[in-house]
């Protein structure tokens, strides 16, 4: 019983990481109708930047904030330089650009920062176990950071004019322009925000899994499974899906398939969702009357 609770709790901790990346995927999907396969590699790159800043002598939270800003700019620039010209391109060339972006980020990361595995510091005390040994301080701290970020994103999209305009621009660019929204700016902001979400996820997971250029590859797969499970066009659903996949992964790993085959659970989830509920558990079934 205690063991089960432990598995669920630590599943929720990794689930938070998946939820952040899943939300980033959904944000891009809503405006481009493509999955940004490079989201994970972008996050890894950001995490290396954070490490470089920390090694250069910045205090942890200073490096954290700087990385958030740098990642935001990086995401926005990618949208403006690479994605904008692709806006009306056929599906396959868009997919090609995303895959290309993944490969470029992966090799540039390896080339600049080397392929050797590095450890990444945690801002939270490492030793003292919390909650009767259930969670480490880093796990608890990382989960709090993740929840704060997710809540901030939610409040931003629900309750600010800019957040509303970004949603509108993603759903209906033509009508958005007619009410005076600068759609191009909104899409760039969306990419910036998605890159920021990935960066925070990367920095929170790196102390646990260690940093190497392929750090996010598996995480992206779990996040994708979470996004699909919740509904690829539903941000709240994707977040719930991300947490759910974290728990499924942990329980499955502990009691069903064993840790070695855990990643196959992500694939299994993806296939199962695609077969049985293509819109996901909370996928938007658009009600329209004409």
């Amino acid at each position: 019983m205690i063991g089960l609770l432990h598995q669920i709790l630590s599943g929720l901790v990794t689930g938070g990481i998946y939820a952040s990346v899943a939300l980033a995927l959904v944000m891009i999907y809503q405006s481009t109708h493509h999955v940004n396969f490079a989201q994970g590699e972008m996050a890894t790159f950001s995490t290396y930047i954070a490490l470089a800043l920390i090694e250069a002598g910045l205090p942890y939270w200073g490096a954290f904030l700087a990385t958030v800003v740098i990642s935001f700019v990086m995401g926005a620039v990618i949208q403006i330089v690479l994605m904008r010209p692709m806006a009306n391109a056929p599906v396959l060339s868009s997919v090609g650009v995303f895959i290309g972006l993944l490969l470029v980020f992966n090799s540039v990361t390896g080339w600049i920062f080397s392929y050797t595995i590095k450890s990444f510091p945690s801002p939270f005390e490492a030793s003292r176990p919390l909650l009767g040994g259930f969670l480490s301080p880093h796990e608890l701290g990382a989960t709090v950071v993740t929840l704060v970020v997710l809540a901030a994103v939610y409040l931003f999209f629900r309750h600010t004019k800019l957040g509303l305009a970004m949603r509108a621009a993603a759903f209906n660019p033509v009508s958005s322009r007619l009410v005076g929204i600068r759609v191009g700016h909104m899409l760039a902001l969306g990419w910036g925000l998605a890159a920021t979400l990935g960066a925070v996820a990367g920095m929170m997971v790196a102390p646990v899994v260690f940093l190497d250029p392929n750090m996010m590859a598996g995480i992206l797969l779990y996040a994708f499974a979470g996004a699909l499970l919740g509904g690829i066009d539903n941000p709240a659903g994707a977040v719930i899906g991300g947490f759910a996949v974290g728990v499924i992964e942990n329980l499955g790993g502990a009691y069903v398939v064993g840790t070695e085959l855990k990643l196959s659970l992500a694939l299994f989830t993806i296939v199962a969702v695609l077969v049985f509920r293509p819109n996901g558990l909370f996928g938007r079934v658009l009600v329209t009357r004409v």
């Binding site: 007619l178 009410v179 009357r289």
Partner: protein
Amino acid sequence: MPKLLEAIGLHAAYGASKVLHGIDFLVEEGGVTCLLGANGAGKTTTLRAISGMVRTSGEIHFAGARIDGRATEDIARAGIAHVPDGRGTFMELTVEENLRLGAYTRPDRAFREDLAHVFDYFPRLQQRLHQQAGTLSGGEQQMLAIGRALLLRPRLLLLDEPSFGLAPLIVEEVFDILHRINREQRMSILVVEQNANLALAISERAYLLETGRMVMAGSAADLASNEAVRRSYLGF
């Protein structure tokens, strides 16, 4: 009445297919102008040309400035609200969010006051405020689209077939309200319609478009009494 909008030798094309072949027209400040024409004549394209949504050549002057070649969002910001073909509803968003988007370029405080005016014209929208816009009936969506356009506080309102797909009673209601908006707010309106009777009844000026060329221009009364127009477009 001074002219608010004027097009001179306006051409428009989708890729290689040319749709407007050098048309001239003007919209007077405070008046209602209608643009009539059969299916595929180029009415929607004319409104898209004004809003910078298609490639054009020729001149478009609005309130004393050239607006041709400008970005759609800048033309909206210059004071032209466009209720597009198909109404342009943000289906996934609530009625309230749709209305907020209409006021996107306006200060928050102005939105509250302007919203009261919109509810004055369309009380039904107030009851539907928190409903998903995609669930509204066609008539309600048309009202939402007009309300959204009014919240921009435009100097010119472009309407693309406001009667499209609506029951006759609703169409009359919508046109009554448009007439009120024109009189009470001195709102200048350019309306595109296939329902020529209704459009002519609320207009002062009228134009007739045929396969991308302006074939008739004059007062609404002139067009309404013209033998050819009556036979082809008014059905009596």
